[in-house]
Symmetry: D3
Subunit: 258 residues, 6 copies
Amino acid sequence: MHLLLTNCNTTEAMTEDMAAAARTAATPGTEITALTPAWGPESCEGWLDSFISAAAVLDALTTAPEAVGPFDAVVMSGFGEHGRQAARELLDVPVVDITEAAAHLALLIGERFAVVTSLSRTAPLIEESLRGSGLIERCHAIDAVDLPVLALDADPDRTAAAFAGPARAAVAAGADVIVLGCAGMAGLRERLEADCGVPVVDGVGAAVVLAEGLVRLALVTGRAHGYAHPLPKVRRGWPVSAALGRSAVVHRPPAYRS
Amino acid sequence: MHLLLTNCNTTEAMTEDMAAAARTAATPGTEITALTPAWGPESCEGWLDSFISAAAVLDALTTAPEAVGPFDAVVMSGFGEHGRQAARELLDVPVVDITEAAAHLALLIGERFAVVTSLSRTAPLIEESLRGSGLIERCHAIDAVDLPVLALDADPDRTAAAFAGPARAAVAAGADVIVLGCAGMAGLRERLEADCGVPVVDGVGAAVVLAEGLVRLALVTGRAHGYAHPLPKVRRGWPVSAALGRSAVVHRPPAYRS
Amino acid sequence: MHLLLTNCNTTEAMTEDMAAAARTAATPGTEITALTPAWGPESCEGWLDSFISAAAVLDALTTAPEAVGPFDAVVMSGFGEHGRQAARELLDVPVVDITEAAAHLALLIGERFAVVTSLSRTAPLIEESLRGSGLIERCHAIDAVDLPVLALDADPDRTAAAFAGPARAAVAAGADVIVLGCAGMAGLRERLEADCGVPVVDGVGAAVVLAEGLVRLALVTGRAHGYAHPLPKVRRGWPVSAALGRSAVVHRPPAYRS
Amino acid sequence: MHLLLTNCNTTEAMTEDMAAAARTAATPGTEITALTPAWGPESCEGWLDSFISAAAVLDALTTAPEAVGPFDAVVMSGFGEHGRQAARELLDVPVVDITEAAAHLALLIGERFAVVTSLSRTAPLIEESLRGSGLIERCHAIDAVDLPVLALDADPDRTAAAFAGPARAAVAAGADVIVLGCAGMAGLRERLEADCGVPVVDGVGAAVVLAEGLVRLALVTGRAHGYAHPLPKVRRGWPVSAALGRSAVVHRPPAYRS
Amino acid sequence: MHLLLTNCNTTEAMTEDMAAAARTAATPGTEITALTPAWGPESCEGWLDSFISAAAVLDALTTAPEAVGPFDAVVMSGFGEHGRQAARELLDVPVVDITEAAAHLALLIGERFAVVTSLSRTAPLIEESLRGSGLIERCHAIDAVDLPVLALDADPDRTAAAFAGPARAAVAAGADVIVLGCAGMAGLRERLEADCGVPVVDGVGAAVVLAEGLVRLALVTGRAHGYAHPLPKVRRGWPVSAALGRSAVVHRPPAYRS
Amino acid sequence: MHLLLTNCNTTEAMTEDMAAAARTAATPGTEITALTPAWGPESCEGWLDSFISAAAVLDALTTAPEAVGPFDAVVMSGFGEHGRQAARELLDVPVVDITEAAAHLALLIGERFAVVTSLSRTAPLIEESLRGSGLIERCHAIDAVDLPVLALDADPDRTAAAFAGPARAAVAAGADVIVLGCAGMAGLRERLEADCGVPVVDGVGAAVVLAEGLVRLALVTGRAHGYAHPLPKVRRGWPVSAALGRSAVVHRPPAYRS
């Protein structure tokens, strides 16, 4: 099976982290190719970043079949970011967004989950994303560590300590599952579980097992209503990457790299 | 990996059908053991059946470790039936109910799903089950074919025709995914997809891939609040099966049967 | 009028307390017979207890007509416990659950009520019960004193003091009615009203006046949909009490005791 | 026990009908005094009528202690009309509105109730009333017979026939209880139950048994927040009846009439 | 354009304050006539005041065409008070209530607004008003300064200081817009914006721009359902002001005063 | 006052229609400059179009200050399209989206509004947009005429006839206001009002009066939480129009054209 993962931002190191987390979660035999968009913000922290990112990721998905060959499903790796419905319109394969993936699995192992994210300004996007997926009802809280996305990687100890506080507070307030509210933080999971005493869900891993499951069951996006294929029409300057003369960066599976 | 599937009723032929569907969905290397409860209704069609079934299935799960040895996760196969939260209290391994499993996958491939079930009297139970899981928001309708559960198997042609009507009506009214609202009907899926033009989700298969995913990601039930282990106390006459002198029937994987 | 009260657990002393509270609330001329189930947990504190209890109480109700003769309505006395819908399917007389009864009366005398219960692990069950009855909207909070059910009776002073804290906090936070979130605590009412300055509702008394009212108005359960009578079918080992050779304990009204 | 019933309109014949229904529902020993407001619309059919009626009924309640002596509870008889919260502020005794009373009892005997009222223009008021009481969730529909209130009494056969249509349609669409959406129609109940096959709830009777129950349990309105007594202040021209030189009409219980 | 503003209470000084705020907000060329009702409470602080006020304001609107000549729209100035739907039934011109007006504009400039009002006892009325308008979803909190309405004007410094506390707390808790929860406080706006760092919306100004907008776009109340004109019928003693021999006080625009 | 209107698509004729509608609605003295984005779809009909459009419109707004000079507020003219929250982050002036604008005014003149849009595939976007603004509660239905956006202009008679059907059906089903669910259709309003007998709201006009109102009241976007200004960071290839060497088309007010 071949899964395509898209990073929501243009920081290649984060794409690599996400791809690594995805490969750890995947069943043997599943290959993960990752894409860094050709344009867009270096990190997504708010509405403007998210809407630019959505277009840039959709651009990468538009050009992906040519760039990476056939794939069986897509994992959209950007926590709380926009665009998943358009990817479902665009592609014949299933599309799983890490925000909803994390919530789906959290609902299976707890009564109320809390999301701990980077900056509090992203909480409204996460809320809208979960609401749009019909998964907000048992989301108990969306809290933030107030560290910028690009700082999360810099000092793992500080990052882990920063997440422990809101996570423990959320558990004390009633949550029995914590969702990591940003991508590329899978490495934090074990330590945070020890710190706060409840299971911690990483969206990338969650999305990989859900995408594999959909493929294995031959479940595809329903086309009867809002997810019908896009209508043919003039979309001036689209895909933007062609006009920019710059392509999405393809992060191939290790086996292909030599 | 070893998954334990519980049938909600005491009809062994239905347990076999469910186990077969589960085995079809499972990854190579996953074994499925199924249990028919030692007591309870021959089919679940309403509140009384459901509450008797919940206790009987929990009885089977209480005695399962001794009867079947270690297992990695549980699939509770009864559409709209009660008991999943207690199974989560009771067991150290993840528990996936087919009602919620079907809804989780349906939400990944459509905007609104409809459930088509056997008898309309079970619709309120399905609604309560989905509401309890926080998954009701995008459930567009719960319709019924008005055939009793035990009649579903009898004549596949009549059954398929019976499901096609409500399924097509639900699609016309706005659903883009259909959920099969009863267990053991996986064989209907392909035909119904052709009939109504949208993807059809079978809960047993859905639960198997979700259970496998949770196990692979080492996600377990959160114990911080409502899913804490049951308190030690006198539970008179429990498990009932011991008092009845009758055990759950163990349906072992084919490899073990010879 | 003859009301049948069922205790959710097998502790006969609690059944006696509940029956006493019911008799205090009843109109002269109303007799209360109470039942202690033949099997099940000695107290209900969580999902497993609740589902075992539901089946055990339904068992007691199945055999009740023979054991106690005709009755006009049923009061199900277990706060937040399962089973009321099945009792409605099963019986021709009205069925009133104390959880919903307390909420109904609380809504008539305040804008927002708070429930104070024994253990916090039971809060999710109470929430589900109120949501299922359509009565959650104006429930302001469900708090716990964190005393086990069987300890509540032991030391009335400690129990009263334990309830006063959460009750006063709930009033300060916006509630104007307190609901006692467990059965058999009616004796606490007067003292707690003095402590927290708002009316306190006991579910058993509430259920008695509602059951009497339904009977007086000749209102019975509607059979058109989900509360249709159970279908005739094989329910193996049911009722369990027959198989166990043990009957529900009948607590007759004082007049019958000599 | 002495209950005070207020008619929402100034048609004395309707007050008499309501009082008769209340007396039929009351326990022996309960006396019902009814009031026709001194001013206001002859029937309530919309927002303007309802707000005039609310003030006129509150006027009658302000002057009631002097006019009728002490009473133990109030039944406000106007389906979907305004004012109940102010009556709770004003009076030391419990106040039960027939709209909410009917919904409370309907929720105890069915899964979903439908209201059948006089004119469709009153449906939004009924919806707001039920929403305000936290009782809208399981209200399945509010339908109308499109007969003016004052015509309902004129021809019982035509009225019964008019209600049968929407009631049967509501049952077919999923309701299992019908609520009579206007006061003074209790006489319709038996016939409509036969016509549509589900229980039918009349708000006046429902309110009487609830008011009796609250009194018997010594439950009074909670004063901690929104239902605190009205602040002392100048209310110019209030009560209006004094300024008009006209009093509410007192409809005493039959025993007092001679 | 000629707008008619109604004060909800009988304190003429407050009517003058409201009219001044309205005139400040109005486009050049818009004239504001204000009305003090002929009867009712000197301030509205709770359910009883609100229902008396609703009838008194509707009385003033019934007699307004004769008293003030033609007008193009109505601004109902009473925060959280009742009556707007009846005004829509009664009048051919658009009716804008300041509670909903403030919420409409707040929703355009923030994600979550908080209301800061006079007394906490009025919070339930404000909540009901916003819920009735379909605008409660993004109302984050309704807090109170616990100063009586008539004290708000007395000492501007104390009033401003009193509002700053709850406003700042609401912002810290997640609100990004503050709504002034009482009429006639427009003077507070600038100072409170400086104090709490977010925009502050005054309902009177908001209602004026909305009323002007509706008039300019020739949008009138829809009559197809609940806002159909009141039915002709006997409304005894209505309008009350006629019976009282007392008229609403007309506060004419400055140009008309000489 | 100077308002900037952005068309969501790249069809300049539609920008001209929208600008004309805006100029008709504006107060004398208000100038409208309109922008056609430099890139993006020629019409927005689904999720992909909407996310491309959001980025293209945000691009136009990023470069607008330089292209058109200072402006006082923005009207985003695309019914159900994405991006408004990012525009609020980006700009210091108020931003009004026509979807929410139409709903705001509709709520002031009716109890329930219905949206009639072009293609049914856009209904989920409109629903998400209204839900995100907290305005979905009283949206009664979102129906479609099933004509592509670019066909709407072609034959005014056919278009008007196409809208009349769903509009009349929505009124019959309970709506008392119709919202035109696409931009540039203001010309339809009068005719449709005659056809369906209820007021019809055009989003462009609604947004203009709301934007003018916000400016007049000096109300700006609250920055305390999710609408804080975007963080400074590398956004590769942004704005795209610069990289494409193509600018948004500026449609100046008539007075400037000579």
